[in-house]
């Protein structure tokens, strides 16, 4: 880490500042770039923790229908910790890393709108993660009970009835992160509104910035609901208030209404940045401007608005009556938005020239993953089929496709695309491709097997569905074969992640020093991107690109040389 410290520091000194050094440099910083890197390493660290938790219980599921290593409560606890870590401490910080580091570069701003709130947001992650994991350490040492064990959406009264300090810690850990990310979301949004280069109009914004806008508007809308829900549970647990206890006049379902009002927009908060990065990468690495820029932005707006009106499709089984028809219609409307995104990405790639670099591979997987998660998701938008699949592994497969193959893969594309920009060093591309290979095969296989276990079509399952959050499957021991295959895929993915961590850390010291590793690839395309090429920035439209390359496939072969010359002129402008 010292490498980029020196780089950033040196930059500061040029301007005559004498900032603190050593650990103080990291702790006191309000520099958006340094904060972005703090976010990045937090996310990577939490990713390792959450992945390890998943590997432990996945292994136990494969070994035998009964638990072998974990207790029943320990299993529930690991599942909850895995979910909370991945959702709140991996995806959100990882996207925060790019928002922090890249937004000012994209917008031509010198800093975020509120640098101090930005720093608060970064250290909020540390605080939240510490609070969430302290009971786990305590449990290992024998001081406390198990960590939070009521699942990631922790419905009361289960949550309020669990007598463990871990339960409170789970609530507080997420609440701390929620507070810090509310501030950060406001910061990101205001930065885009206020700090934009005056020359840069709304329709000049690169797709990533647009997706950032929608993400943070949704975050600002949804996260307060989570704080409401968690706060009420905390008050009920600790101050004996009664919001959710039926026999004391509360309503257990009230929590679900509040939580899912947060919960569904939250899913879009998780996936939209990844989709934005994928759009950015697919366009540049296909050598074509984004197809249908305006319809794409409009459809993302539709998705964002629709996501606020679909929360009750998580509650079809709770005894809801006719309102389910309305929520079904809203849920289906989301297809339109994501459909246009998928269409736009395929049309961008179509007849392009795809550079199958690591960021591009992950970005293509985002589009495939979005198809999977959308097609699986249709069965949960429809109440009739939802009641069959509710709480089976089909749901587990569905949301993993959504959060991992869309959200996380997009962010991994971002890591590989921008790592050289953030650290000044290039990673090992062979190791990166190994990571891409194992991750795409491993993760898609893993979630595919989850879906198969869920709808009763896994090998040997004999039509029996695997139920979600079941620590054991004593009711159907024949599901073991399916679980073994699932776990094998999980290990394939895990080996890839190991390569990922090694690559990132090793390249930090030993990677080749570069300024723009993609320069060769993109030279002569007139498809600049402000974070690499600086401002002034004109979005690559069909007209601009055709002026630059003049021809493309239709051009006669002899004209090629001329094209190249023209290209160099364009490239020189940067």
């Amino acid at each position: 880490m010292s490498t980029e410290t020196a780089g950033e520091h040196g930059h500061d000194e040029e301007h005559g500042h004498h900032g603190p050094t050593g650990w103080r440099y990291w702790l006191y910083t309000t520099d958006h770039k340094v904060i972005g890197i703090i976010y990045l390493w937090h996310a990577i660290f939490a990713f390792a923790l959450g992945g390890l938790a998943a590997l432990i219980f996945r292994t136990d599921l494969a070994v035998a229908p009964e638990l072998e290593y974990l207790s029943l409560l320990g299993y529930n606890s690991l599942v909850s910790i895995h979910a909370l870590t991945m959702i709140f401490f991996v995806i959100i910080p990882l996207q925060g890393a790019f928002f922090n580091y890249m937004l000012p570069l994209f917008l031509g701003a010198d800093e975020m709108a509120w640098p101090r709130m930005n720093a608060l947001g970064a250290w909020g992650i540390t605080a939240g993660l510490t609070v969430l994991y302290t009971p786990m350490v305590g449990n290992f040492l024998g001081y406390t009970g198990v960590p939070t064990a009521a699942g990631w959406f922790q419905y009361p009264p289960l949550n309020t009835m669990m007598n463990s300090v871990g339960q409170d810690a789970g609530i507080l850990g997420v609440a701390i992160l929620a507070i810090s990310s509310t501030g950060s979301a406001a910061n990101f949004f205001v930065t885009i509104l206020n700090e934009r280069d005056p020359e840069m109009g709304w329709m000049d914004l690169p797709p990533f910035v647009w997706f950032t806008v929608f993400t943070n508007v949704l975050a600002l809308y949804s996260i307060p609901w989570a704080l409401d829900a968690l706060g009420m549970v905390w008050l009920e647990r600790n101050l004996a208030m009664s919001f959710f206890t039926a026999r004391a006049g509360g309503d257990p379902l009230l929590y679900q209404w509040i939580w899912w009002t947060f919960g569904h927009p939250e899913v879009y908060v998780l996936v939209l940045p990844g989709m934005g990065i994928a759009a950015e990468v697919i366009s540049r690495f296909s050598e074509r401007p984004i197809y249908g820029y305006k319809p794409l932005i409009a459809s993302t707006a539709i998705v964002s608005v629709a996501s606020m009106g679909v929360w009750a499709h998580h509650m079809y089984a709770t005894g809801l009556a006719a309102s389910r028809y309305a929520f079904m219609v809203f849920s289906m409307a989301i297809f339109l938005g994501f459909g246009v995104y998928i269409y736009s990405m395929v049309a961008t790639m179509w007849k392009g020239r795809l550079h199958l670099t690591t960021p591009m591979l992950f970005s293509i997987s985002v589009v495939v993953g979005l198809l999977y998660s959308g097609m699986d998701g249709a069965f949960f938008g429809q109440p009739a089929t939802d009641l069959q699949f509710h709480s089976t592994y089909f749901v587990v497969g569905h949301f993993h496709f959504t959060i991992v193959t869309v959200g996380l893969f997009g962010l991994l594309a971002g890591v590989y695309y921008w790592y050289p920009r953030m650290t000044g060093r290039m990673y090992n591309t062979k190791l990166a491709k190994f990571h891409a290979f194992t991750t795409i095969v491993g993760m898609f296989g893993l979630f595919f097997m989850m879906a198969m276990l869920g709808d009763g079509t896994a090998p040997g399952s004999d039509g029996v569905m695997m139920m979600r959050r079941y620590a054991t499957y004593v009711y159907a021991p024949q599901l073991q074969l399916g679980h073994i295959i699932t776990t094998v895929f999980a290990y394939v993915a895990a080996i890839g992640q190991l390569a990922f961590f090694v690559n990132l850390l090793w390249s930090l010291r030993a990677g080749e020093e570069v300024t723009d590793p993609w320069d060769d690839l993109f030279s002569g395309q007139n498809m600049p991107s402000p974070e690499w090429d600086g401002l002034p920035y004109k979005p690559p439209t069909a007209i601009a690109v055709s002026e630059a390359t003049d021809g493309g496939e239709e051009a006669v072969p002899d004209g090629g040389a001329e094209t190249d010359d023209e290209v160099d002129v364009q490239g020189g402008e940067r």
Binding site: R353, L356, M452, R468, V474, A542, S546
Partner: protein
């Protein structure tokens, strides 16, 4: 990759073609998974005589099919693009003309809208016939002449079934009659549970301080297993009951079995329990107590053995008229 290679030979020294093929195969892998995942849903056998699942299955298969065709097409396009348009096998990108493909995009949006609204309407109709249907509607639509009531109470971590007419509360296993609309109410004594019989397409949360009503009906008994009643062995089918909402430590072991026996056998079983088979008439079709009625016999044809006999008698009398 060097600058200006765009117009170079297709084969380049770094084995890009091989790489394009490798990644094409990787994405082909996702395509095959897609086909299997959604293809399996299409060929799933029909659940005849089990309600509400039999009503849902048609709709579900249609959805799987449209996912297979619509989604599969797009994954196939992506796989093709990776094979065909990779920089290893292609020297330059095609120009994107301004406004190109606007018609295609419009058609695509229209197609999505049509599929969306079809799904919405079919889904609404399916919902109206299944979970949204009141027991009276369900009885009419399924031609169920008889119904029985059951109360399901969930607590950590076991089920309690109180079936009308049976004096004892039943736990891990509950016996119910076939050809009868089982109307049940779920509630919980502590945390939120969910009463699920996935084979019948039922999931209903058991929420403390609230009762939720739903129904199911099994129209035939294969006799895979048996239920003992007073020394007699009654052929029965077993359906697994799951808890479908995380309810704490024992969640995965909160199981129970629903045994469905024939209506005649149910009478035997109920008497052996010291109770009576409290089957009520739903007022639909012909029941045991409505033999005098004329019109209802054919509609209630799937109501049980008695009904079949009635049907034959009717046909006989019609023959006399001729």
């Amino acid at each position: 990759m060097a600058v200006g290679d765009d117009i170079g030979p297709v084969w380049d020294e770094r084995g890009d073609v091989f790489e394009a093929l490798l990644w094409g195969v990787v994405f082909l892998f996702t395509f095959v998974l897609f086909i299997i995942e959604f293809g399996n849903g299409v060929i799933e056998p029909e659940e005849e005589g089990l309600f509400p699942i039999a009503t849902i299955v048609d709709f579900k298969q249609t959805m799987f099919l449209s996912a297979l065709i619509g989604g599969g097409l797009f994954v196939a396009l992506i796989v093709w693009a990776v094979f065909r348009y990779s920089s290893g096998v292609r020297d330059r990108a095609a120009r994107m003309a301004p406004g190109q493909g606007r018609f295609m995009l419009t058609m695509f949006v229209l197609a999505v809208l049509v599929i969306m609204s079809t799904t919405v309407f079919t889904g609404a109709a399916t919902l109206a016939q299944t979970d949204e249907a009141s027991p009276a509607d369900a009885a009419e639509q399924l031609g169920a002449s008889q119904q029985i009531h059951m109360e399901v109470t969930a607590s950590q971590w076991f089920w309690r079934f109180d079936v009308e007419g049976i004096p004892s509360t039943q736990g891990e296993r509950v016996v119910l009659p076939a050809n009868t609309l089982v109307v049940f109410e779920t509630t919980s004594a502590d945390v939120i549970h969910s009463f699920a019989i996935k084979e019948l397409g039922i999931t209903k949360d058991a929420v403390p301080g609230q009762t939720n009503q739903a129904w199911f009906m099994v129209n035939h008994v294969e006799g895979e297993t048996s239920v003992q009643a007073g020394g007699e062995s009654l052929p029965a089918d077993r359906y697994e009951v799951h808890c479908a909402e995380l309810c704490g430590k024992g969640h995965s072991k909160m199981l129970a079995s629903v045994y469905v026996v024939g209506q005649e056998d149910y009478h035997t079983w109920a008497e052996a329990q010291g109770g009576e088979a409290a089957l009520e008439s739903t007022g639909v079709g012909g029941g045991e107590h409505s033999e005098e009625e004329e019109g209802g016999h054919d509609e209630g044809g799937d109501g049980g053995m008695d009904m079949d006999e009635d049907g034959e008698m009717d046909m006989g009398s019609e023959g006399d008229d001729h």
